[in-house]
Amino acid sequence: MASTTDAAPPGAASLGTRPEAPPAPDDPASLKVVPARHYARWAAALAVIVLVAQFVHGLANNPVWEWGVFRDYVLSETIVQAVWVTLQLTAYATVLGFLLGTVLAFMRLSRSPVLQTVAWTYIWIFRSIPMIVQLVFWFNLSALYERLGFGIPFGPVFWSVDSNSVIGTMGAAIIGLTLHQAAYAAEIVRGGVISVDHGQLEAAAALGIPRLRQIRRIVLPQAMRAILPTAGNEIIGLLKGTSVVYVMSIGELFYQVQVIYGRTGRVIPLLLVATAWYVVLTSLLSVAQYYVERRYARGANRTPPPTPFQRARRFVRTLRAAAAQRNQPVVPLKTTGPLGDSR
């Protein structure tokens, strides 16, 4: 094909004229390829599509869902406020839980047997108590400790207050969720820390980097790679888990939904309201997790894979380019898939 390798201007070569010698009849490269036919796979796909269509049809047409009621409530002030409470509970318990959890994790990893034992015991106890039981305990804190104060351990107390006045219901819920979360977070963080190559700590020690800085700058960022997927699970679990604080009559999403359907009797559409919000919130968390994980993967891959957003943009760009090409007369064809040259 000497004619096309010449420096012909684009469009000069005409398609279709390929003056090649007829191939030998026994050359497999010249034969037509018949793709394999997967009949069973096609039948299964069809069956699943019918089932899904049936389900969606039911969702849309079964009057019990009462989509009108759903629409009335899903963005109502009461519900939005309840969502806000749910978010607050999740945020406080996540931040405080992981802070306390990190401290506990390093206590367990410390060389002091006392710290190790205390941390181990904490984790053992708080993983053993169901969250709902613990929450009710904290709800009844004032029965347990009427007053809270500062003083010398086992000695005189200098300052104290009524425990109900400092720790309201919301406070009790946050404490309960935090203490529960910390036990799990401790194990997640510890798992991440021990997954970091020992040579990293040795290198940091050999360079004389101060101990706290070693943890903050060398160990934790690398541990994050192992921590994040499990932590993402935990935070999503916690978001949904906040629904159990309805036992303390806190106006979070699930409690509020129950109050409304207790009043109106519209159980199903209001459960749908709660479902929709939980799905939206966990989806947002999953997206956030993706980007945080990506950030902590710096240096782990030679070339980080593009984000879905970047991939979509690149896809649109190639489509546009293809369209532009189609409008031009004729161009020597260069076949790369839509993502073929994306690196």
């Binding site: 040795e202 290198a203 020690a205 004389g208 980097i209 101990r211 902590y296 240096g299 030679r302």
Partner: protein
């Protein structure tokens, strides 16, 4: 070339029942290159790791530039130093690992400035200037913003050497710096070390590269079974060894 920089005195070290070092004595003068040879399990790496106190010794002592490592002498007793003070001592002792141990989540430049900024409290800008100069010296000027995993093994080890140099240490310790490298990458790392030797850096190099020892070392030390079997100028130890064990080892590796 007279002052003793590293003084290892009667060092013993055991891991449980296994006695790895059984009374090692070693003196390295300032500006000299000492190469430690020996079969695996002879205690070479452990000795190197005791010098910067990555391993605590069971008996004996080590001093660098007249300062005891890991201990403080007061009132006829040796007081064990706190980790903070040991870390400070280590900033005078550069250590290059067999597996590089670069920080993979930091860029090459960040790897180089981490210790000067955090341990020596150097201003960031000054540390960066030093770092770039060092990268220039190891031939990696254009890799400052790369991540370690984007580099070849030889390039990573050269970064690791630059990282150790960034603290301007009194002595540089190399623990088999070319053992994890593909054969064709060994040369570029040895060239950097040779270059350093030419500038009068005090170095102790544990290696299996006999040719390198012959060319660069002022003193070759042969270790076996946790003791120094013999030491001397390369010509003496490598070409005319006195001990049967040295001869046996050399006949296997040459």
């Amino acid at each position: 070339m007279s002052q003793v920089m590293v003084d290892v005195h009667g060092v013993h070290k055991s891991f449980g029942p296994l006695e790895v070092l059984r009374g090692v004595d070693l003196r390295v003068r300032a500006g000299e290159v000492t190469v430690i040879l020996g079969p695996s399990g002879s205690g070479k790496s452990t000795l190197l790791r005791t010098i910067n106190h990555l391993e605590k010794v069971n008996r004996g002592w080590i001093s660098i530039d007249g300062e005891l490592i890991g201990y403080r002498r007061a009132g006829g007793k040796l007081h064990e130093l706190k980790e903070k003070d040991v870390l400070k001592q280590r900033t005078h002792i550069g250590f290059v690992f067999q597996n590089f141990n670069l920080f993979p989540h930091l860029t090459v430049l960040e790897n180089l400035i981490e210790a000067p900024v955090s341990a020596l409290r150097r201003p960031r800008k000054e540390a960066e200037e030093t770092a770039r100069r060092l990268l220039d010296r190891v031939g990696l000027t254009d890799k400052a913003d790369a991540y370690p995993r984007q580099l070849s093994g030889g390039q990573q080890q050269r970064v690791a050497i630059a990282r150790a140099l960034a603290l301007e240490p009194k002595v540089l310790l190399f623990d088999e710096p070319t053992s994890a490298l593909d054969p064709e990458l060994v040369g570029e790392v040895l060239d950097v070390i040779k270059d350093l030797a030419g500038t009068g850096t005090t170095m102790i190099v544990v290696t299996h590269e006999i040719g390198f020892a012959r060319e660069v070392a002022d003193t070759v030390v042969f270790m076996d079974g946790g003791v120094v079997v013999e030491q001397g100028p390369p010509a003496a130890v490598l070409d005319d060894p006195h001990h049967e064990r040295t001869r046996a080892f050399l006949s296997k590796v040459l």
